[in-house]
């Protein structure tokens, strides 16, 4: 094992002298997650707040047929705009979030006490229009109910007669759990951090060493190849873990300043979050490092290795995508699956949900086992004769 340590120390020393590697490990990798988050959250929050507080700009066709309705809309912070020539087209092309159309016979139906129709023209596939449409619908329904109640009162009836059932919402989501969806991407950014941190070394110690023609002299030393590999894997893992650690710590600091409460969400980024996240990310960083080293060992050149590893970077995004798109219930097999386990646990920790110790242990052990298996595969590849030949 002494030789493995020698290799480890040499790789660490050599790569610490490479400014690009150091910047990737200590700056770009760790800061990427928090930075993207601050950007994302800030844009989102500003956007939502804007929508809620700004007057709702609403083109209305046939405003002259319903002056009272228009007055009620104006009272509710709606800015009435002139009618558009083609409301359907305007909505499709996102010139307007929604358009209100009042037909010419509105007043006739209204006066006769028949349901008077108004149309909201919108495009549901434009997510941006959601809040505008629901605000408008709320105002319209409220106006309708008020008028209905007045009409009942005028006939000497109680308005409650139309409300045989009173439905009350009791939302069990907490501010933390509401932020969960939004933060489903977070584990991926931590994983990405580890990936970037280990990438330079994974390539440099395998394909890079071969390309520089230093692998053959190295293998001529009386050291078993698995020990050389162990040193290289160790160095790659150390860099990857450093990046992940810094990434989590940076996020813990930056997370305190995210304006999430403004939109009724909050994050639980305390000591517990940091400690448990680090605990389950450690074996994953080792797993990724081993995977990167294995893949890079196949490559003939530095460039080829870079291409392979860039493709490999997209693998961890798959569980992230699935989980942020589909609602799921945490199950045992999820904790036992590397990547998925981290995804579930980090999301739960952030939402402030309890994570059983057994789940943490399961996630740690299974990921560590997977890392070990990949290491054994890497060692087998390292035994092959072809690996050493430079030209």
């Amino acid at each position: 094992m002494k030789s493995a340590l020698t290799v480890f120390l040499k790789e660490v020393r050599e790569n610490l002298r490479d400014r690009r590697t150091v910047i990737n490990t200590l700056v770009t990798g760790p800061l990427m997650a928090p930075l993207i988050f601050v950007l994302l959250i800030n844009t989102l929050v500003t956007h939502e707040l804007d929508k809620a507080e700004k007057p709702l700009s609403l083109p209305v066709a046939g405003a002259q047929y319903a002056p009272n309705l228009i007055a009620a809309l104006k009272q509710n912070n709606v800015e009435i705009k002139d009618a558009l020539v083609d409301p359907e087209k305007a909505v499709r092309e996102q010139d307007a979030d929604a358009v209100l159309r009042i037909p010419a016979d509105f007043a006739k139906s209204w006066d006769k006490g028949e349901p008077a129709q108004v149309e909201i023209v919108y495009d549901q596939s434009q997510r941006d229009s959601d809040s505008a449409v629901s605000r408008l619908r709320g105002i319209l329904e409220h106006y309708g109910q008020r008028t209905g109640a007045l009409r009942l009162l005028a006939r000497g009836l109680s308005p409650t007669i139309l409300k045989p059932l009173a439905v009350a919402d009791r939302d069990q989501s907490t501010p933390q759990s509401r932020s969960g969806m939004m933060f489903a991407m977070l584990p991926y950014f931590f994983i990405l951090g580890g990936f970037i941190g280990g990438m330079a070394l994974a390539i440099d110690t395998t394909a890079g060493e071969r390309e520089r023609q230093s692998l053959e002299p190295l293998l001529a030393n009386p050291v078993p190849r698995w020990q050389i590999l162990a040193g290289k894997l160790g160095a790659t893992t150390a860099f990857a873990i450093t990046t992940v650690l810094l990434s989590i710590l940076a996020f813990a600091v930056v997370g305190q300043f995210l304006p999430t409460e403004k939109i009724g969400m909050s994050l639980t980024i305390g000591v517990r979050f940091v400690v448990f996240t680090i605990l389950i990310m450690l074996p994953l960083a080792a797993l990724l490092a081993a995977l990167q080293t294995t893949v890079a060992a196949f490559a003939k050149s530095y460039r080829e290795a870079q291409t392979y590893l860039s493709l490999l970077m997209f693998v961890p995004i798959i569980p992230t995508m699935l989980m942020s798109l589909m609602p799921f219930k945490a199950q045992v097999w999820m904790y036992a699956t590397p990547l998925v386990g981290q995804q579930v646990i980090i999301t739960r920790l952030m939402r402030g949900d309890p994570v059983p110790d057994s789940a943490l242990a399961l996630c740690f052990v299974c990921t560590a086992l997977a890392a070990l298996i990949i290491c054994v595969i890497a060692a087998r590849i390292y035994r092959s004769e072809r690996l050493a030949i430079s030209a």
Binding site: K2, S3, T6, V7, K10, R13, E14, N15, R17, D18, E209, R212, Q213, S214, L215, E216, P217, L218, L219, A220, N221, P222, V223, P224, E385, A388, I389, S390, A391
Partner: protein, 248 residues
């Protein structure tokens, strides 16, 4: 002492199969310089790679100081100093760090390591570059560093693959002197070359290899006598049966 017995090594399979080494046998003795001479592609590098156990021969035996390479490859590598065809250095490390790295991999004590390194630095006249990073080294400086790191563990047997490749006249002369010094120290020196003059000037024994086979294993004088040619180069051409790939 290095003994090679009926060595076979082929690459590829089926119709594409190429026998790089096809039954080579020779012996490199202690206190002698043995030259492995052959045209490009004759199997010199493959033979040497089998010697320092980077490759496993398909058949045949390699013995270094009596240690069987197939049985104890680590033991063989321990008594060998190797300057391979690929002699890349770590460019972000200084020459000293490059040498020390290999010394540590050989498990040498720190004190011995210092002594050996300093001795080699003097012998190779590379004291002035010892603390410079190897990035930007000239070819000669690179070869010196590579040799120092290959010999830092004081090996009894030294294998050098085309050691003068890319060196200028002065550096080549210095290299030859260094090889002679290794010989005077009683070591077994085996080097490969495709350059006739070099082999003629240095070697006690010449092993001519062509198409993976040993076609002659003699002293330079015996070689001249055997082929009936006064000139070694003509002898060489006669032995390998063609002047293709013969570069001076």
């Amino acid at each position: 002492m290095i003994e090679v017995k009926d060595l076979h090594k082929a690459f590829g399979a089926g119709a594409k199969r190429v026998a790089a080494v096809d039954g080579a046998s020779f012996t490199a003795r202690d206190g002698e310089i043995t030259g492995l001479l052959g045209p490009n592609g004759a199997g010199k590098t493959t033979t040497l790679r089998c010697l320092y156990t980077l490759m496993q021969p398909d058949a045949g035996q390699v013995l270094v100081d009596g240690i069987d390479a197939a049985v104890d490859p680590l033991g063989v590598r321990r008594v060998l100093g190797v300057l391979p065809d690929a002699r890349g250095l770590y460019k972000r490390l200084t020459a000293r760090e490059n040498i020390d790295y290999f010394a540590r991999l050989h498990g040498i004590e720190t004190k011995t390591m210092h002594a050996r390194r300093e001795m080699l630095a003097d012998a190779l006249e590379m004291r002035d570059i010892l603390d410079r990073r190897t990035e930007g080294f000239s070819q000669g400086q690179r070869v010196k560093t590579a040799i120092a790191r290959a010999l830092v563990h004081d090996p009894h047997n030294v294998i050098l693959d085309e050691p003068t490749n890319g060196l200028d006249v002065m550096a080549t002369r210095a290299m030859r002197e260094f090889l002679k010094q290794l010989k005077r120290e009683g070591r077994c020196v085996l080097f490969s070359s495709h350059i006739m003059q070099e082999v003629a000037a240095l070697c006690d024994r010449i092993v001519v290899i062509a198409k993976g086979r040993v076609v002659a294993d003699e002293s330079p004088d015996a070689l001249r006598a055997q082929t009936g040619e006064a000139n070694l180069e003509d002898a060489f051409v006669k032995l390998i049966g063609t002047d293709e790939g013969l570069a001076a």
